[in-house]
Subunit: 154 residues, 2 copies
Amino acid sequence: MTVEETRCRRAMDRIGLLLARHGGISNARLRQALEATGLTTRQGMTLMHLAETGPIGQQALMEAIGVDASALVAILNDLERDNLVERRRDPADRRRHIVLLTEAGTEVLTGVDTAMTAVERELLAHLTPAEVATLHDLLTRINTSAHDEACAGS
Amino acid sequence: MTVEETRCRRAMDRIGLLLARHGGISNARLRQALEATGLTTRQGMTLMHLAETGPIGQQALMEAIGVDASALVAILNDLERDNLVERRRDPADRRRHIVLLTEAGTEVLTGVDTAMTAVERELLAHLTPAEVATLHDLLTRINTSAHDEACAGS
DNA sequence: TATTGTTATACTCTATAACTATA
DNA sequence: TATAGTTATAGAGTATAACAATA
């Protein structure tokens, strides 16, 4: 297509930059909303995942929430210190730690959910429900996995 | 199935979390792609804005790229050290610094643009051009400004 | 040797408050 | 006093490599 030369599109037409910026804003809002629960965004997200999956090994949990091993350790250390999760050795493979929600962790979850709902309501205030659904669909289809196709060049 | 009660939607149905995560990924990819230019994402973004707006005060630049004053100072210090931008006192109001691209900064810009294009091509590999346009539109309409409506509570 | 989880480290981004110099 | 810019500092997120225990 004709378009202008590929060179130098306006900065905020750059979807990469838009995503980075909105991600930062979402993160900041979530953190603020979660302050009442004493959790960070990633801690809240981790609790939500545990509630969905039930007891799970750290490897699987890592993939589910998209952080690396050392980051997950830090998250779980904090959560375990506050008795929101518990790590148990897997008797079948003593290298593995099975992570599970405690009763206290389950209770905190309600507050997390409320906070996230409030943040979303605000972020998406100008969008219709149909648009929100579209946005959700498009976001999940963004290529998140490691570099595979396209631009594989060098 | 009958869905569960509204409480506790699946974590990755949370748009706030999706945005935060994809933002982080975009940022990481951009950083990696910009490594060749020796710039961080925000430095690259700053150069792009300067190219669009021309000479501009730091207050205006802050708003344009969405970082706060102290963050901008750090960005500009690095860029100025590398002679990519220049700060000049505004003779009309000696408190103000007018920021502008140097010739070297303009040259680097081409590499920044190429890197960003490559990253986007990869992130958006599974979307049609129409979907990309929709995504762009929806992202720009997310409520980025300070808390006004909804959840204003305390 | 490979895998699971841990520790240590460092860099980026973000947020806040205190400071300066001008107005 | 108010504003433009600066400095300092701290917390959160991310990335990497080295390590221990177990398989």
